[in-house]
């Protein structure tokens, strides 16, 4: 790895002061690793178009599932926020006068599981409805106000779980003069179910595309092995170990991974930047705090490291599969 050369200064000095330039075997080994890594990078550099294409293929394959997962993560963050502000709506019976409603509200508010109860007067409700629905004329035909008094009950934080809310609903339903209790968590549960399905699909997609990345790198490295067949033969003949012969290709795969990871990160950043405007507008229309969360520094690092591991793995498979085919048996003719 490139970092191998950046070892501690003591080590470096030690090697210089040694009697022979090759005093420290550890340093020699690291130097050698660095040379192989740099050489592998140079080889990629020499075929810039092919390399860029491999990087792009890998970048797209990685960016797709990662962007999806990030998007779904953001959606889940939002629904979690809404779940927290779950409210119970209780409709009173029509005949209940406003004073009685107020005392009932005080009773409910006294319950430990309730933070606050807002009473919406039926007159007020009608006025609001008239204003917001644009149905003034139609409503004018009504003799009576069809709306009951309404309570908006906000549960205590501890009671905001599904069971907590359910028990609170039973409690309120059991009270006198309450006509109907509604908790509109259904759509939220549906949203959660959908994001769960999508998240799992995204993971399945991620696994499939990761496998595709491994295969693409494997195939690319296989071609590299074919191109250097003679060199591998000679290296084996003069006593190169399997590890020696494999190493350059493993570095090649790792570099492919690094480039692919960077391309994927770039694509994700670009896409998120591209769609963040419309998403903010949409969120604004819903009065939501929703915002897209990018991968961040940590996420970007994980993405790149995973990409490098996948590249290495692809190279390893190719090497494992094809290197043994190249045996020196056919070299000595006659």
């Amino acid at each position: 790895m490139a970092t191998d050369s950046r070892q501690s200064p003591e080590n470096r000095r030690g090697a210089r002061q040694g009697r022979s330039p090759s005093a420290s075997p550890v340093r020699r080994y690291l130097d050698y690793q660095r040379r192989v890594a740099v050489d592998a990078a140079r080889r990629l550099w020499r075929t810039p178009v092919a390399t860029a294409m491999t990087w792009t293929v890998m970048g797209i394959a990685l960016a797709l599932p990662v962007a999806l997962l990030l998007l779904l993560g953001s959606v889940q963050g939002v629904s979690a926020g809404w779940e927290d502000s779950a409210r119970i709506t209780a409709y009173l019976e029509m005949h209940v006068p406003v004073e009685q409603a107020q005392s009932l509200a005080d009773d409910i508010e006294a319950d430990g599981r309730v933070t606050s109860v807002v009473v919406i007067n039926r007159e007020q409700a009608l006025a609001d409805f008239r204003e917001s629905s644009g149905l003034q004329d139609v409503l004018g035909f009504l003799e009576d106000n069809p709306l009951p008094h309404t309570f908006l009950i906000t549960p205590e934080e501890g009671a905001r779980s599904a069971e907590g809310v359910a028990s609170l609903v039973t409690f309120v339903e059991g009270m006198e003069d309450i006509e109907r209790v509604q908790v509109d968590l259904g759509w939220l549960q549906r949203l959660n179910a959908i994001t769960d399905i999508l998240t799992r699909s995204a993971w399945a997609l991620a696994v499939l595309l990761a496998a595709a990345v491994v295969l693409v790198i494997g195939n690319t490295v296989r071609l590299a092995i074919e191109n250097r067949r003679d060199e591998i033969l000679v290296a084996k003949l003069v006593g190169g170990t399997d590890a020696f012969v494999r190493r350059p290709f493993l570095y090649t795969g790792t570099w492919f991974g690094l480039g692919g990871g960077l391309v994927a990160w770039l694509l994700i950043q670009l896409t998120f930047w591209w769609i963040s405007g419309p998403i903010e507008r949409l969120a604004g229309l819903y009065n939501s705090e929703f915002s897209l969360n990018g991968p961040g520094v940590e996420g970007a690092l994980v993405l790149i490291v995973v990409a490098m591991v996948l590249g290495w793995l692809g190279a390893w498979l190719a090497v494992k599969r094809h290197m043994d085919d190249i045996e020196s048996g056919d070299i000595a003719g006659g």
Binding site: R28, R35, S328
Partner: protein, 223 residues
């Protein structure tokens, strides 16, 4: 240094390349391996390079029983055996220097040591001035000498050559043989497979003669 004990190599039921071959080469000995093509010369060399394993018998190099060698040990044995090929097996995507450096590269020798030893080997074969050239630019004789430099750059105790003068004219062949003689004088065991009868007779060295897989002459020391 090299010892064959009753070595038989059978490829399949109807093709036996070597039959009960026994001989011994001492340190610093130079010998020729002769015989018609198909007599088993290549097979014998492949057994020494551990490209093949004997069907029966023992191949011993430097005290190591090659047929008992685990696969992952093979590279380390090959570092003790320099090989010169008829078609030299040079890589044309790199310089003469880098070709000769390969055996040292695989051993993880430091770049400074590699420089020193590669130049010493090239000097030995008289190609020091051509280290930066591509082997493609060299003549056949020069290419063969690069191959020899590569075979001896890590000072192996054993040097094998498969038809090293196959494509060369007599003067160049004599040069190459002279090089081999020099190596044997410093203690390298040299075995040269060749069917260049004139050259072999001129050298007047021990000859191991194979015929249809049997060693028919030279099996015992002295000639």
């Amino acid at each position: 240094m090299i010892e064959f004990r009753q070595v038989t190599k059978r490829y399949d039921s109807d093709h036996t390349a070597l039959r009960q071959v026994s001989f011994q080469l001492e340190r610093g000995e130079l010998a020729f391996l002769t015989g018609h093509s198909g007599a088993g010369k290549s097979t014998l060399l492949k057994l020494l390079m551990v490209m093949e394993r004997p069907t029966a018998g023992d191949v011993v190099v430097g005290g190591q029983h090659l047929n008992r060698l685990p696969k992952r040990q093979i590279p380390y044995i090959r570092r003790h055996i320099g090989v010169v090929f008829q078609n030299h097996q040079l890589l044309f995507d790199r310089t003469v220097f880098d070709n000769v450096a390969m055996p040292l590269e695989v051993m993880g020798v430091s770049p400074t040591d590699i420089g020193r030893r590669v130049r010493a080997a090239l000097d030995k074969v008289g190609l020091l001035k051509k280290e930066k050239m591509n082997p493609m630019q060299l003549s056949g004789g020069e290419q063969q000498r690069v191959g020899i430099a590569r075979a001896v750059v890590n000072k192996p105790p054993v040097l094998l050559a498969d038809e090293p003068t196959g494509n060369l004219d007599p003067d160049l062949s004599a040069d190459i043989m002279h090089l081999f003689t020099q190596f044997s004088q410093v203690g390298v065991t040299v075995l040269i497979a060749s069917h260049d009868v004139a050259l072999i007779n001129a050298m007047d060295r021990r000859q191991l003669t194979l015929e249809q897989g049997r060693l028919i002459a030279g099996g015992h020391s002295g000639h």
